[in-house]
């Protein structure tokens, strides 16, 4: 047990040193990179390793009779989580989410330190010592808190009430609810039931299973499925339409949405927010093809009331493309990202 805990403690210490080193620039910040596509599990795994490491350290310290005070364990662990969220995760997490995470981790630390009476007593003892002020040191601390706390609260209130010239926060509705139907080039499409007419098999019938097998592989590689190269001269049916969609995409869309469809095109950073990143699992992967059809056709000015603050410069492509071209470009977007359009069957 002791050997195991020593190993995890060592891993914890190494991880901590590395994190501190990366924060202060002593070691390159990309020494251990967060890899796109694997980041979510990587973050959770790193946190798990740190927790195990801290548990190992605490165990070893206890075995050696130099137990680290529970109060400081709790406080420092919370500080560690905030530091990790602030400096490890890139791009930076908006304050609103960090505040949520900070609150949850605060509650978690409280639950840990007060889970049983013994721990709770250990945790609150330093607080009680300061409140009781039986020694000169504690008396000085108490007096300091007495002066600092009102000042801090006063300062916080002042900062809150002070008129701010910062941009206000926005709650942008990324995916506003679509209308039941949309009219494009004189034809009405019911969004819940319409289908992409080019998502067809070799017999020309609508076949999502067939097209699903021919999309590129998700993840880092983005490899094409065997014998599924749309740019092959012999490509027919669905793959041929994907190629045509790709041509339309590179003639019209890639300037903003980017060569890799990740929203980082040539002109992308002229806008805020930058164009939608189709490779993110929260965009087209969550939506029906008809939703994309509606958004492409109607553009930013066609956003419904719900779509505030209407921050989209997407042109209404129905003014520039035919209906068939819109369907084909959508086909290409799903093929290229390796995502499947949402269906309800």
């Amino acid at each position: 047990m002791k050997a195991l805990m020593s190993v995890v403690a060592l891993i914890g210490v190494l991880g901590l040193l590395m994190l501190i080193g990366m924060i202060f620039g002593v070691i390159p910040s990309n020494t251990i990179r967060l890899v796109e596509g694997y980041m979510p599990m990587q973050v959770l795994s790193e946190l798990a390793i740190f927790v195990a490491g801290f548990a190992g350290l605490s165990y070893l310290a206890n075995s050696m009779g130099v137990a680290f005070p529970r109060f400081w364990q709790g406080v420092l662990f919370w500080v560690f989580i905030q530091t990790y969220l602030k400096f490890r995760i890139y791009p930076p997490i908006p304050f609103s989410v960090r505040a949520m995470y900070g609150t949850v981790s605060f509650v978690a630390v409280f639950m840990w330190v007060s889970a049983n009476e013994e721990d709770w007593k250990k945790f609150r003892q330093p607080i009680l010592n300061v409140l009781d002020a039986n020694t000169g040191f504690h008396k000085a601390l108490r007096t300091m808190y007495l002066i600092l706390l009102p000042l801090l609260i006063g300062g916080f209130s002042f900062m809150t009430m002070k008129p701010s010239i910062d941009e206000p926060i926005e709650l942008r509705t990324v995916h506003p609810a679509p209308p039941a139907s949309t009219k494009v080039h004189g034809k009405t499409y019911t969004l819940q039931t319409s289908q992409n007419p080019y998502r067809v098999n070799l017999e020309g019938k609508y076949d999502q299973d067939y097209s699903n097998k021919l999309i590129v592989e998700q993840g880092m590689g983005r490899l094409m499925a065997p014998n599924a190269n749309p740019w092959d001269d012999k490509a027919e049916g669905y793959l041929k339409y994907v190629r045509e969609g790709g041509e339309i995409f590179f003639q019209n869309c890639h300037f903003c949405h980017g060569d890799n469809l990740n929203g980082r095109g040539l002109h992308a950073f002229a806008f805020n927010p930058i164009p939608a990143n189709f490779t993110d699992p929260g965009t087209i992967a969550q939506l029906q093809e008809t939703f994309i059809f509606w958004r492409v056709a109607k553009g930013g000015i066609g956003l419904p009331n719900e779509g505030f603050p209407w921050a989209s410069v997407m042109p209404p492509w129905e003014q520039h493309l035919t209906t068939d071209e819109i369907w084909k470009v959508i086909l290409f977007e799903y093929w290229h990202t390796g995502y499947y359009p949402r269906t309800w069957d």
């Binding site: 908006p94 978690a108 805020n272």
Partner: protein, 639 residues
Amino acid sequence: MGSVTRTKLMSIMALGAMIGLLLLPILVAIPALASDGGAPAADEKKEGGDAKVEKGKDVYYKTEGIVSGPPAPKTTDSEKDYPRYNFESRVLLWFANQQHLYYGSFVLAVPIFCMVIEFMGVVTKDKAMAKRYDQLAYDFIKISLTAYSLTAILGGILIFTFLTLYPAFFQYLSGIFRPVMHIYALMFVAESGTLYIYYYGWDKMKEGFLKWIHLSMSVVLNVIGTILMFLANSWIGFMMSPAGVDEQGRYLGNIWHVIHTALWNPLNLHRILGNMAFGGGVVAAYAAYRFLSAKTDEERAHYDWMGYIAMALGVAFLIPLPFAGYWLMREVYAYRQQMGITLMGGLLAWLFIIQATMIGILFLSTNYYLWQALGRMRGAEKYQRYIKYLVFLLTCGFLVFITPHTIVMTPAELKAMGGQQHPVLGNYGVMSAKNGGINVIITTTVLSFVWYMRGNKVSTVSWSKFGNIFMGCFFFFAYLNIILLAIYGYYIPANVRVGLSVPQVATTLSCLFFMFALNSVMMKGAKQMGPIEWGKISARSQYALIMLATAFTWMMGLMGYIRSSVRLFWHVNEIMRDNSPWAYTHTVGFAANMISANVLFFWISIMFVFWLGALAAKKAPVEAKAAVPGRAAAPAVGH
């Protein structure tokens, strides 16, 4: 002897009368249901002589029916359609509705608890335990009795609010539901009658055969209550997903279609479970309040036990609640995609993040209470040192579960993030991750329960080592399966991903049922490390119970608001438009304040009900006192 026979006879007659009351409205309804409410059409035919019968197409069922009612009124922003005080009418209605719902849920849930606890008392062989259960059931029903009259008063206020502030809408809705309106009223009479006999007959029917009669009454009482709730649910189901009417909102003569709308059944299930969890929470809070104000060890022991039972019953219904909610949302998406997106991806998405936070708080409070409860049993110390790992699992699940898809941020933050989608948070913000998060939370809660159940025991079965390893592996692979399925969800089509929730839920429920069962078998005849010292639990645990109940109340208010506001500017979705000046969606901040005000009012008023209950309380019965948990001669070991 003769007197006993007479009492038996009277009891059977009372039960018969109750069943009669239950069946009466159904008998009354049969002619209306049999004719499919066709009477008005027939009259019309007679009056018009050879006039052609007008037919309409059901907006949902797509069947044809004879037009049997007027179209939905096209209201205007006027005093006629929307009479008003110098105040927002919608807020008044919101308040009246919410308070009625809180009390309605409470009085429907508590009798179900009573039924379960009374049954446990009847079948328990241990006489002391049987009396404890019986006393507990009696305490429960006593609390609900005062709340019952408040429910009726609030129902009256609600109807008056509708009549005075939204007459055109209420007239239309009552016209549509005319065939069952009186059935609803009659069910109330039946509910009241049954409840009073059930409560006042408690002492008279406490032994032998009479006790079974009394128990049967609680079954009848709950059947009536459930039907009442189903009928009330049909109104909101109709408002969200109307059926049985044509495009103009004209009733087509089939009341079953009007009741059985697309969302009726998911709403029914969700509300039954929700009411039970809420009822458990409120009773647990009552017990916590009594525990904290208790003057003696006996009182503390009794209310500690009461709080535990109420919490356990509430949580038993809380665990399947997210799955019922999932089904409801799935049906909402199937009914109208726009409605689903407005709820979970669009306008109301942030309210769902708040809801996720409240669900997380519920489970966190439950776990915290259980960990505190380990402290009142000797021998449970061995589990306490591992609690930190459970905290970690819960926190990770919780953080993923509450990560928003639509992030609140300044344009500068948006720019720094490099677009609307964050490469880490974006993955946590979608359903696949959230399913994983909530299942991890629930599985951890199950694990906490298992630890609690074996806290002061050491298994003596010969295969206990194997059993422990098996349980450990089972939980390990359950977590692994849940997490891997959550990751796999990103790589498959959405319709398959939705289906993945089934194996995830199955994994969680397997932990619940198999591990509870296996644990029970392993702990049969187990060596006791010490008694459960009821009453010797930290005050923090009781605040956790109060937190649990408050979170339930807040979440009910929130979900009610979300469900209602998803209709946007419709009184009845796509049928009757809301043309009042208040047909807009409130800001998240206003809604949150309003919900908090409702919660505050409910808790102030329920404190009054608790106080009344305490005022009317008899001195604790002698036999109950003698059997106070933890004070009995033999150590109380049951949970």
